[in-house]
């Protein structure tokens, strides 16, 4: 029997991508708990397996064996479909991410566009989940998520457009390819394109925090205000899938930041580029995200919108205009 190798390749990558997303989601919880414990001078999980390494597994089993409560009065279809709507786009985004020059599931020419398209579906999932569960806290949270994402996608996309202008492509592999050969070639230090590049990276990073609803922008699930925000009515794996989707989104955000600004799989000194450099940079960014969460208190909603509209959007616009001027002149 003859099987098209393309199908085998596709299947292998699909399984690989789902495994990567799920494993990352599980072990980022472990990393988060360990890092939080370290910041707070505790030990963190240590009972299950060495250094508590089997904790995510046990947590997963616990969540899966719990009853999936569907409260009376909810919209059952929306309620059940919402976690999937958060998780699936996150996994889909992994398809376009190049981990090294050969390790990429689908090298799309519109890779960057695809990732942002999938990222927007995530918000829809949260909104539907909140609306479907008919909980006032969840609905307030959903309103916050939507306006937060609208506010933060603008500076993020303007920054990305700036980078697309510099690179002249939306193919993620090609964007990384242009940055090869040492850290002075990375976009974050590409001062000849625009002297504001390091600030652009900062804007992108802040927007990424807001997009993934991480502290200090975790307005959506502000525990002390909205109980658990969108997830208030979810139990068992319904909550678990939301949770995994959230971590998968953080991985995507860190990956995109690595690709756009930090040279992807490129080595800072031009030696042995490869997937290990990509993972190193990505996990460093994720580590920073967790670090920020356990250090800062939460901002308020209007503080967040003020930051976006009054500071981030003007700066990213200036950067865009400056970059286009530089491109035109030189």
């Amino acid at each position: 029997m003859h099987v098209d190798p393309e199908i085998i390749r596709l299947l292998a990558f699909l399984i690989g991508v789902i495994a990567f997303a799920a494993l990352n989601a599980a072990y980022l919880v472990w990393l988060e708990r360990k890092e939080a414990a370290h910041i707070q001078r505790r030990i963190g999980p240590k009972e299950v397996g060495p250094f508590g390494l089997l904790q995510p597994l046990v947590d997963g089993i616990k969540l899966m064996t719990k009853q999936l409560i569907v409260p009376a009065g909810v919209d059952p279809v929306l309620f059940k479909i919402a976690p999937i709507l958060v998780m699936v786009p996150a996994i889909m985004s992994f398809v376009t991410i190049p981990f090294s020059d050969t390790l990429v599931a689908r090298n799309l020419d519109i890779g960057l566009l695809a990732i942002f398209a999938f990222a927007s579906v995530n918000v829809l999932g949260l909104l539907l989940g909140a609306w479907g569960s008919r909980n006032k806290y969840a609905v307030i949270s959903a309103a916050r998520v939507v306006s937060q994402n609208v506010a933060y996608e603008i500076p993020m996309l303007i920054t990305v457009v700036t980078l697309v202008m510099i690179s002249g492509t939306m193919n993620l592999s090609k964007i990384v390819g242009l940055q090869m050969g040492g850290f002075w070639n990375w976009n974050i230090l590409n001062l000849s394109a625009s002297p504001l590049m390091p600030i652009a990276f900062l804007i992108f990073f802040v927007c990424m925090l807001a997009e993934t609803n991480r502290a200090p922008f975790d307005m959506a699930e502000a525990e002390s205000e909205l109980v658990a925000g969108t997830f208030t009515e979810y139990s068992g794996m319904g909550f678990g899938v939301f949770f995994m989707g959230e971590y998968a989104n953080i991985v995507i955000g860190a990956s995109v930041a690595t690709i756009l600004f930090l040279g992807g799989w490129d080595c800072p000194f031009g030696l042995f580029p490869g997937v290990h450099w990509f993972l190193l940079k990505m996990y460093f960014l994720i580590f920073t995200v967790i670090w920020i969460r356990w250090t800062y208190p939460r901002t308020t909603f209007y503080g967040l919108l003020n930051l976006s509209w009054k500071i981030l959007i003007p700066i990213s616009f200036v950067n865009l205009i400056l970059t286009s001027a530089m491109l035109k002149v030189f």
Binding site: Q40, A222, T295, Y302, G303
Partner: protein, 372 residues
């Protein structure tokens, strides 16, 4: 806030904050009428943990009520002990030895520091910062260890007795307390650097949650709430009791009226309490810790007696009416948080939900003490 346009037609909905909600730190229920995320009306609903402490007091002997006092405000239990024993001593005319009064002040002030530390952690938790809670608990643990060695318990103390305290301190208490004071003094700058000077925290607290001095007078708010509104009132200074007049300490007063002012009052009070403890340890006299000849069955003379003490949350007053029998005829407890909470409805009007919760956190509510 002016960035949002005023909408014409008001469509409001009712949001039940509590009785189980992470921000209310207990079983408080606040019925919020919300206009979007703005609070149109807030009505605290009490009674979820009412245990009839006053009625219980009228049904048992004077001494039998003593353990109840530690179970109202479980965070500053010793001050409640202090208020009740003081009023009964006033009624029965019992003289307390000086060493016992010093021990009362030392332990009550240590307890005040532990209460403020817990509030500090919980308040930052309300604002979404997780880590300071664990740091504050680390310090608080030292106080609990010290108090455990003296009183035998870690939370709901019942250490004071009519006529003194029930147990003298051991040899480790004084050096242990001095070591703790040194440690906390070294850690306070860290708290201020990490938390107080944080830009997000400053934005969330400054000029948010105003409580004017008039509002404090109207609702009878006391303690850090009124001192954050520029009213210089501290029972320890203005209606001195116990041996407080012998110590040199300041009453921190801030007149910004915002949540930050109340935060700063409490942070400064920690340092002032440490000063009091230090002076009390220096001056600690020798002698008995229990008055002699305190009758086994107490029958205070007929009359109406009142005594107020300054707790971590404000002025706690006990009024007892004695008819000359072995049980009080009437026992009335004036708890500070009840008054402090009652201004929440007026103060939170028109505020955003997160700001109102920051305001509520800055009131330092302990629910069992409101409901008694």
């Amino acid at each position: 806030m002016s960035a949002f346009a005023e909408s014409e037609a008001k469509e409001t909905f009712v949001l039940n904050l509590g009785p189980q909600h992470p921000a209310t730190h207990g079983v408080l229920r606040v019925k919020l009428t919300m206009d979007g995320e703005y609070i149109a009306e807030a009505e605290p609903v009490l009674g979820y943990i009412h245990r009839m402490h006053e009625k219980m007091g009228e049904n048992r002997t004077w001494a039998q009520f003593l353990p109840n006092t530690g179970r109202m405000d479980y965070l500053h239990a010793l001050a409640y002990n202090h208020g009740y024993v003081s009023v009964v001593e006033r009624a029965a005319g019992i003289e307390v030895p000086e060493r016992a009064e010093y021990l009362r002040v030392i332990t009550a002030e240590l307890n005040r520091v532990s209460s403020h530390l817990l509030w500090f952690g919980a308040f930052i938790l309300d604002l979404g910062g997780f880590s300071p809670l664990l740091y504050a608990f680390d310090d608080r643990e030292h106080i609990l260890d010290l108090l455990e060695s003296v009183t035998g318990s870690r939370l709901t103390y019942c250490y004071f007795r009519f006529g003194g305290v029930y147990n003298d301190i051991d040899d480790n208490f004084v050096p242990g307390t001095r070591a703790f004071i040194k440690r906390l003094r070294e850690r306070m700058p860290m708290y201020h650097n990490l938390v107080t000077k944080n830009i997000i925290l400053m934005k969330r607290l400054q000029e948010v949650g105003p409580i004017s001095a008039e509002m404090c007078r109207k609702y009878g708010a006391t303690g850090p709430v009124c001192r954050g509104s520029g009213i210089n009132f501290d029972v320890r200074k203005h209606e001195p009791y116990s041996v407080y007049p012998e110590f040199d300490f300041d009453v921190p007063v801030y007149d910004q009226c915002d949540s930050m002012a109340r935060y700063m009052v409490r942070m400064d009070e920690i340092e002032q309490s440490l000063r009091i403890i230090e002076q009390a340890l220096d001056k600690l006299p020798e002698g008995p810790v229990m008055a002699e000849k305190v009758p086994k069955i107490l029958k205070p003379a007929k009359g109406d007696y009142y005594h107020a003490v300054e707790t971590a949350r404000g002025s706690f007053g006990v009024r007892v009416v004695s008819d000359g029998t072995n049980t009080p005829y009437r026992l009335k407890l004036r708890s500070p948080t009840f008054s402090n909470l009652s201004l929440f409805g007026e103060a939170s009007q028109g505020m955003l939900l997160p700001d109102a919760l920051a305001l509520m956190g800055s009131l330092d509510l302990v629910i069992p003490e409101i409901d008694r």
